[in-house]
C-alpha cells in the first residue's frame, strides 16, 4: 500500500467519525435527558416494548425535550425490563423491573421534577458520592466488560452510536498495518476460539492465510444452538457492529474477499439487527469495495440458518451454506484449507470476532494480562436456571465457579440448596458442589469432565433430578444427530431408552455399566463434536451423582421429586384448611374435590402432576406435598 492510499484511509475515517459525532451530538452534549430502554429479546419477553410505548406517550404528553433510545441487553436479564435515564447534571440512573406505570412515573417524577425515584433504581451507572452506584454490587468485583462494553449502552440499529464510542477505529488502524503485524498481535494476545473447543485463533488464521486458492471466505458462526446459552444472541442484538468490524479485520489479515454471518433461525431479532448493521456499514464504505479508501475489498452477506443444531459444527455449517443437508464431513481437510466451495474458509465464533477489534485497539498485552496461563482474556457466560441474577456476565478467565454463581449470580433463590451446575450445554457436563472451586478456563473444565462450550451455565438446585437432566440432554442430541455416523445415530437412541426406563422406575442395576460402556463407544465412533461429546452429560452425572441413579433403579424413588412417573401429589389432611379451595379452582384437570369434612383430596387417576396445586396452596397452609415413590400416598376413597 502506498503512502497516498494511507493518508486517504486516514481522512476517510476521520470524516466518517466526525459526521457520526455530529449526528449523535444531541445524545452526548448533555443538554436534553436521554432515556434508554433495553429491547433485546429478553427485555421484550418481559414487556420492554410496552414500557417503551408508555415512555414515548408520556414524553409527548408532558411536552418534554428528551431522546428516547432503544438499546440492547445490559446483561441484567433478571431485572428486565430495564430503563436507563441520563439526566444532565446527574449520573445515568438504571431502573429495573419497570412496568408501563412505573415508566410513566419515572418520566413525571424524575425528568419533569427532580425525584430520582430511588425505590425503583438498581443504581447509578457511574461512581457518585451521593447516589449508590450499580458498581458497588458484589458482582462488579469480578465482572470485566470487554466485549459486552457496548451492550445496553448503544442503539444497535444506529451505526453512529457505535462509532461515537470508538467503533471502527481498530479497523482504521488495521488497514494501516500489514496483515502479518495484525496476526502477530492476535498471537501475542493468546486469544483462543470462543466457540467451545478453545482452538488458538492465530493458528487457524495462519492455516487459512497460507492456504492456496481464491477467493477466501470468512464466516461468523452465529448458530448458537446450545440450549441454555444466549451470549451470541445478546451480542448480535446489542452490538452487531463489533462483530462486523472484527470480521473485516480478520478478512484483511487472512486475505479473504467474501464473508457470511450465519445466524440461527430461532433468533429473528438478531437476524433483523445484523441485517440493518450490514446495510449501514456498507453505506459508509466500511465493507464493500476499497474499504476506507484502501485497496482492500470485502463484502458480507447474512445467512439465516434453518434450525439444525449440528450446523454449529463448521463443516456442517458450510454444507448448509452450499444448500445441502447440514451433514459434517471428515477433517482434515480443515475448512481453513478447503471449505466453502472448496476454498480456504475461516470460521470463527461471534465472540471471538468481537474480541478482535478490542485486542487490536488496546494491544496484545492488555488482553493477555488478564486470565490464566493457558486461557487469556475474559469468559462470557449466560447464567440461567436456579440462580437469582439470571443474565449475561463477563468475568476474567480463572474466576472460580463459586464466585460466578454465588457472587455474580447471587446464589440460589428461595433458600434452596445448590446441587450442580451444568456447563457447556449438551456437550458439557454437570459439576457438583465439590467442583465449585475450579477456576473457569478451557483446560480446568475439560479435566473435570465438562467443557467451556459456548458458555451456557445452568444452575441446578435440590429440586432438579440429575438422571432427568442427563436424559434431557441425550434426548436433545439424539433428536439433533444428523444420522451420518452409526454410533451416534443408534447409540444415543439406545442410551436414551435406557435413561427413559430409569426415570420411569423400570431400570436395572446393570444398566449403569451399559451406559458407561456405550458412552465410550459413541465417543470413539463419531466424526463430529456432536457425537464425540453427546455422552458427557451422562458420564458426569454417573461420576458425581451415582446415588441418584441407584435410588431410581433400586427403590423406584426420585430423590429430587421430579420424575413424574415416580412421584405423586398428596394433600396433607391435617394441614388442609376447610374454608380454602385455592387448589380446587386452579387444578387444570379438575382432579381435586372436597370430602365431607371440607378437606381436599386429589384423584390420583385424573392428576396430570402439573404442580399447579402445589403453587396455589397458600404458604400459611403448605398442605400439598410430593411423595416418591407414589405408593406412599395413603389409599383413600374418592367421591366420583
Amino acid at each position: 500500500m502506498n503512502v497516498a492510499a494511507m493518508s486517504g484511509a486516514d481522512s476517510t475515517f476521520q470524516r466518517i467519525k466526525s459526521d457520526a459525532l455530529t449526528r449523535v451530538k444531541d445524545l452526548y452534549d448533555g443538554k436534553a435527558p436521554v432515556i434508554m430502554v433495553g429491547t433485546a429479546t429478553c427485555g421484550r419477553a418481559a414487556g420492554a416494548l410496552e414500557v417503551l410505548q408508555a415512555i414515548k406517550e408520556e414524553v409527548v404528553r408532558e411536552h418534554i425535550d428528551a431522546n428516547v433510545v432503544e438499546v440492547g441487553c445490559m446483561g441484567h436479564c433478571y431485572a428486565e425490563p430495564l430503563v436507563v435515564i441520563a439526566k444532565p447534571g446527574n449520573p445515568p440512573m438504571s431502573y429495573g423491573y419497570v412496568t408501563p406505570e412505573i415508566a410513566q412515573r419515572l418520566v413525571k417524577d424524575y425528568i419533569v421534577r427532580e425525584d430520582i425515584s430511588l425505590e425503583f433504581t438498581l443504581g447509578a451507572l457511574e461512581e457518585s458520592d451521593t447516589i449508590p452506584s450499580i458498581y458497588d454490587l458484589p458482582r462488579f468485583t469480578y465482572e470485566k466488560h470487554f466485549i459486552l462494553k457496548n451492550c445496553g449502552h448503544i442503539d444497535p440499529e444506529n451505526i453512529d452510536h457505535y462509532i461515537a464510542r470508538g467503533g471502527y477505529e481498530a479497523l482504521d488502524k488495521a488497514l494501516k498495518m500489514q496483515p502479518p503485524e495484525i496476526w502477530e498481535v492476535i498471537k501475542q494476545s493468546g486469544l483462543r476460539g470462543r466457540g467451545g473447543a478453545g482452538f488458538p485463533t492465530w493458528q487457524k488464521w495462519e492455516v487459512c492465510r497460507n492456504a492456496p486458492g481464491k477467493p477466501k471466505y470468512v464466516i461468523c458462526n452465529g448458530d448458537e444452538g446450545d440450549p441454555g446459552a444466549f451470549m451470541d444472541r445478546a451480542i448480535m442484538e446489542s452490538d452487531p457492529h463489533s462483530v462486523i468490524e472484527g470480521m473485516v479485520i480478520t478478512a484483511y489479515t487472512v486475505g479473504a474477499r467474501h464473508g457470511y454471518i450465519y445466524v440461527r433461525a430461532e433468533y429473528p431479532l438478531a437476524v433483523h439487527r445484523v441485517e440493518i448493521a450490514l446495510r449501514q456499514a456498507h453505506h459508509l464504505g466500511l465493507t464493500g469495495k476499497r474499504i476506507l479508501g484502501s485497496d482492500f475489498n470485502f463484502d458480507i452477506k447474512l445467512f439465516s440458518g434453518s434450525g439444525a443444531f449440528v450446523c454449529g459444527e463448521e463443516t456442517a455449517l458450510i454444507a448448509s451454506l452450499e444448500g445441502k443437508q447440514g451433514l459434517p464431513h471428515h477433517r482434515p481437510p480443515f475448512p481453513a484449507a478447503s471449505g466453502l466451495n472448496g476454498k480456504p474458509t475461516l470460521i470463527n465464533n461471534v465472540k471471538t470476532l468481537a474480541y478482535v477489534p478490542r485486542i487490536l485497539g488496546n494491544g496484545a498485552t492488555w488482553f493477555s494480562s488478564i486470565g490464566t496461563a493457558g486461557s487469556k482474556g475474559t469468559a462470557v457466560f449466560a447464567l440461567a436456571g436456579k440462580v437469582v441474577n439470571t443474565g449475561l456476565t463477563e468475568v476474567p478467565m480463572g474466576t472460580t465457579l463459586r464466585q460466578t454463581i454465588f457472587d455474580v449470580g447471587s446464589g440460589i433463590p428461595n433458600g434452596k440448596r445448590f446441587k450442580a451446575v451444568q456447563i457447556g450445554g449438551p456437550s458439557g457436563g454437570c459439576l457438583p458442589e465439590s467442583a465449585l472451586d475450579i477456576p473457569i478456563d478451557f483446560d480446568s473444565l475439560k479435566d473435570a469432565g465438562a467443557m467451556m462450550g459456548s458458555g451456557g451455565m445452568v444452575v441446578l438446585d435440590e429440586d432438579d433430578c440429575m438422571v432427568e437432566i442427563a436424559r434431557y440432554f441425550l434426548e436433545f442430541t439424539q433428536r439433533e444427530s444428523c444420522g451420518k455416523c452409526t454410533m451416534c445415530r443408534l447409540g444415543t437412541k439406545q442410551m436414551l431408552e435406557i435413561l427413559g426406563d430409569i426415570t420411569r422406575g423400570q431400570g436395572h442395576i446393570e444398566d449403569v455399566d451399559t451406559l458407561s460402556e456405550m458412552a465410550e463407544d459413541i465417543k470413539a465412533g463419531s466424526l463430529c463434536g456432536l457425537g464425540k461429546t453427546a455422552p458427557n452429560p451422562v458420564l458426569t452425572t454417573l461420576k458425581y451423582f451415582r446415588d441418584e441413579y441407584e435410588a431410581h433403579i433400586k427403590e423406584r424413588r426420585c430423590p429430587a421429586l421430579m420424575c413424574r412417573d415416580l412421584i405423586a401429589y398428596y394433600i396433607l389432611p391435617e394441614k388442609c384448611e376447610r374454608s380454602c379451595d385455592a387448589c380446587v379452582g386452579t387444578c387444570t384437570v379438575e382432579a381435586i374435590s372436597s370430602n365431607k369434612k371440607g378437606i381436599k383430596v386429589i384423584d390420583q387417576e385424573k392428576c396430570v402432576k402439573c404442580n399447579t396445586c402445589l403453587e396455589a396452596c397458600p404458604p400459611q397452609y403448605n398442605a400439598v406435598i410430593k411423595l416418591s415413590p407414589p405408593e406412599l400416598v395413603p389409599a383413600v376413597k374418592v367421591k366420583k
Binding site: 440450549p227 436456571g385 434431557y472
Partner: protein, 186 residues
C-alpha cells in the same frame, strides 16, 4: 419420521376450500414469484425455501417440484433438505403458531409441564394443527430467553414464565379477540 411427515405432506390431508388443481396452481404461482428474485445457484436453496415458507406458511409438494426445476437439481435433493432442517414444515400452519421452548432452563423450570398443558387444551400433539386451523403446536430447542423460563412463543411474542394456568389465560385472550371480531363482522 420422514415417512410420517410425507404422508402428512400430501395435499390429501389439506382441507380443501376449492378444487385441488386450483390450489396447486396457486402454490406454483406463489413459488415462481419467490424464485424470480434468486439466481439458479444451489447455495440459494435454503434461502429460497425460507422465502417460500414465509409466503405460504409451509412447503407443499408443488413448491418443492418448482424449486427443483428452477435449480436444476433432483426433487429428492430438495425434499431431503426440507426434512433435514427443523424449521421447514410439510403441513399447513395454524393461524397462531404456538412454540413451547424446551431449552435446558425451560425444561428444568417445567417446560414439559407447559407443553402438556397446551396439548391438553388444544387436543393436538406437537407438530400438529388444530382442525379449525387456529393453532399449531410445536417445540423449539431454545429461544435464548433462558432468564424468563419457562417460555412459550405465541405469534412471535415471547410469553415469559408460562404455567398451565397462564396457558388457559392466553387461550382465553385469543377466544375473546375472536369473539370480538365475530361480533364486528356481524
Amino acid at each position: 419420521m420422514n415417512a410420517k411427515k410425507l404422508s402428512q405432506g400430501t395435499l390429501d390431508d389439506v382441507p380443501r376450500a376449492y378444487s385441488m388443481t386450483e390450489e396447486q396452481e396457486d402454490i406454483r404461482q406463489e413459488t415462481r414469484k419467490v424464485l424470480r428474485r434468486f439466481s439458479r445457484q444451489r447455495g440459494n436453496l435454503v434461502p429460497i425455501l425460507q422465502k417460500v415458507q414465509g409466503r405460504l406458511g409451509y412447503i407443499p409438494r408443488e413448491a418443492m417440484v418448482e424449486v427443483a426445476e428452477f435449480l436444476r437439481i433432483p426433487e429428492m435433493d430438495v425434499y431431503s433438505v426440507v426434512t433435514f432442517y427443523n424449521q421447514f414444515r410439510l403441513n399447513p400452519p395454524g393461524k397462531h403458531p404456538v412454540r413451547v421452548c424446551l431449552g435446558t432452563a425451560c425444561h428444568m423450570k417445567g417446560g414439559y409441564i407447559v407443553l402438556d398443558a397446551w396439548k391438553r387444551r388444544l387436543s393436538i400433539n406437537q407438530g400438529e394443527t388444530t382442525p379449525d386451523r387456529e393453532f399449531d403446536l410445536d417445540t423449539v430447542a431454545c429461544v435464548g430467553c433462558c432468564a424468563m423460563a419457562p417460555v412459550t412463543v405465541v405469534d412471535d411474542k415471547v410469553e415469559a414464565k408460562t404455567s398451565p394456568t397462564r396457558v388457559d389465560g392466553i387461550l382465553l385472550s385469543y377466544q375473546i379477540e375472536k369473539d370480538k371480531e365475530g361480533e364486528e363482522t356481524q
